[in-house]
Amino acid sequence: MPDTGTKEAVKQYAIRLGDDALVLGHRLSEWCSYGPFLEEDLALTNVALDFIGRARMFYSYAAELAADGSTEDTYAYTRDCRDFSNLLIHELPRGDFAFSMARQYLVDAYNLAYMESLRQSADNTLAAIAEKAVKESSYHLRRSHDWMLRLGDGTAESHQRLQRAVDELWGYTPELFAMDALEQQLADAGIAVDAAALRPGWEQSVAATLAEATLQKPAGDWEVSGGRRGIHTEALGHMLSELQFMQRAYPGLQW
């Protein structure tokens, strides 16, 4: 690592990516035992575990860079809402199955392109994590893309639910491609992904999928952001109160 400034920035970056993975992984894990049928229940929780595993790798790396006694658990269990820097789309409540699948598709398409790019990172650890994530995301995308077609081009009710989900999620997608000073600095150094550059490819493949699934592309006349700055929706606090309960009630508790 060249200098302490960059090291601190990489740590923050790793925490961001860890937060994205943990929050989405937790939302998916909420489906455990509520899946529409057994096979899908197992598949959903399997994907949830992929994301939680990804969070652990990013957090562990951040802890290593921090070298202040922090561990992966410090980041997951002892920070409050304002310290979480995940993108907002990940924290939205799981909703119905169509909502969870629509979100999954939108972020899987993003994640695959993102991790393919992060694989080229000048930071070897980030590149190695991305290498593993690419394989997982290819599989996630195959699944969620499949569900977009099944639900969108399925029954009248599944179509209507999926369209509503896409409409509700759409305003959260511009944030996926926003770059702030920290990420721009790291992108210039060849460490972080230039998310803005991924947008045209993502929009093209999402538009193709929506068309194939007989869905309307939303107008895109509203958008929200703030996750990277710790400005969250109401949903995140409720989620963390469950996720962090044991460590909050019994600090340092070990299994």
Partner: protein, 94 residues
């Protein structure tokens, strides 16, 4: 939902050189989805190098009631077993 779904039988080859082995069944809308689910349901600990899924309804199985007609006649053909033959003394160590 699984009432409307098809049943598939899953076969997994655990290592190169071995045969595909029946590991169980699952419900899915079609063969492609069955293959995806087979991965989640039956290969969670990275068992397997290859998966087959087969429509359960495509399997033609012998019935237990057919046992007599299927297998009993074989009892009359002891010459199909090697033990039926008496070896000449000269080849005692075969």
């Amino acid at each position: 939902m699984s009432d409307h779904m098809k049943l598939f039988e899953v076969f997994i080859r655990s290592r190169r050189g071995l045969d595909h082995k029946h590991v169980g069944s699952l419900h899915a809308e079609d063969a492609q989805q069955a293959l995806e689910y087979a991965r989640d349901v039956y290969t969670r600990r990275s068992e397997g190098v290859s998966i087959w899924v087969v429509n359960s309804s495509d399997i033609v199985a012998s019935q237990e009631g057919d046992c007599e007609s299927f297998y009993d006649p074989l009892d009359d053909k002891p010459y199909r077993h090697a033990t039926h033959y008496q070896l000449p003394e000269e080849v005692n160590n075969m």
